[in-house]
Amino acid sequence: MSVRASILAVLTMGECHGYQLRQEIESRTGGSWQINVGQIYSTLERLERDGLVESAGSNEQGQTRYRATATGSVEAQLWLTSAIEASPEARNELAMKLALAVTIPDCDVEKLVHAQRVQTMRTLQVLTATKRDVDQNDPAELPWLLVADLNIFNCEAELRWLEHIEGTLARSAARGLNPNQTLSEPAKRGRPTKTN
């Protein structure tokens, strides 16, 4: 997620110093995103260099306050209203682990899928229990609720996917289809061995 764009977005609302930005972003994302304050300051320096923010002087504690420039405000608006592209994080660990597991002999993939279903269901229960206790009419809870709902829908999607692949694995096993489970010959690439 873009630290740079998030800082800009907060600065369109007014002047902030670095530590304050960290707190604003944390509270506005339902506590789900904590950025290292050092990263905030280094990002502010780059934003200033690029003409997107400017210094608004220091406060009594000597902390430099920043505000968005006109160009910075335009960039923030663009970011806030545009869709994000599918990221490499979509290659999640579970998918890679399962793909690998079906190619390893004697690996109990069914057990892995089952363990994951239980684990994900528990996560879903915890998220739901927390959501149940939240006051739906308290505007301060809105950021957290949005993030919690994303996690809830992600859990549901993962459970549906796990149920689906359980069927795929069973059908595949019934037909005696097994992915290649032996190691291939090493490819003739890479650094040549020295001959003398």
Partner: protein, 237 residues
């Protein structure tokens, strides 16, 4: 300790005979206490709906016992069973089952009036149930004048109106969108928390997550229990 209001003991259910014999349930046991919601999850044909109809006395188990409050359903006479079902057990189905020619409040009051309660008293109880579902203002509308989510809330109000202590729901939000589903399950949960025992059959994991326990049923057997008795701190530790 809360009282156990519903109990299934080693219930088996077989349909047909000989070559056509199908074992829908193969020894399912279950206890639900007051204030507890138990979700049953499983694939189509796993036996989850059969379990619910047996729990509600709509079907008789081939072997095993079903106890609601302190009565053993298989030993009751048909008239006793009908009375117990009407007074103690509420049902919620996917397709609401409201009577279109009756208003919302008449639909909710109907089971009480059938039990001989005075109309005025039954309507008062029905209105209380509707208000607790936050739809008191719809009392005098007809089912076809309200939305799907509102209809399901009427059906839930009807399921727990009066002295009923056991609520059985089969895919109660199956016909609803996600936002409406959440409002319905929230309302249902609130009612359970007030001291009713509930069983919820669903294939929707988001819905099941509102339960205290999730039982997974496969080939007529409860194969797994996922309990919610863990704190967020314990979780993932």
């Amino acid at each position: 300790m809360s009282k156990v209001l519903l109990e299934l003991i080693d219930v088996q259910k077989t349909y047909g005979t000989g070559e056509n014999e199908v074992q829908a349930l193969r020894g399912a046991s279950l206890q639900v206490k007051a204030g507890e919601l138990v979700a049953i999850m499983g694939a189509s044909g796993s036996g989850k709906s059969t379990l619910l109809t047996i729990a509600g006395g709509l079907e008789v188990p081939t072997t095993g016992d079903v106890r609601v409050l302190d009565s053993s359903l298989p030993t009751l006479k048909p008239t006793q069973l009908a009375t117990l079902r009407r007074q103690t057990i509420g049902y919620v189905f996917q397709d609401f089952n409201l009577i279109p020619s009756l208003t919302v409040i008449e639909n909710v009051a109907l089971p009480l009036e059938l039990d001989g309660m005075k109309v005025r008293k039954a309507r008062k109880a029905a209105l209380d149930a509707l208000v607790s579902m936050e739809i008191g203002e719809l009392a005098n509308r007809f089912p076809d004048e309200i939305s799907g989510g509102q209809r399901q809330r009427v059906a839930i109000a009807r399921s727990f109106v009066g002295p009923r202590q056991v609520l059985l729901a089969d895919e109660p939000t199956g016909a609803l969108d996600s936002k409406t589903s959440e409002a319905v399950i929230r309302a249902l949960r609130k009612r359970i928390d007030a001291g009713i025992a509930g069983v919820l059959v669903t294939h929707d994991a988001k819905l099941a997550a509102w339960a205290d326990r999730i039982l997974v049923i496969r080939d007529g057997q409860i194969v797994e229990e996922i309990s919610n008795n863990i704190t967020p701190e314990q979780f993932g530790a």
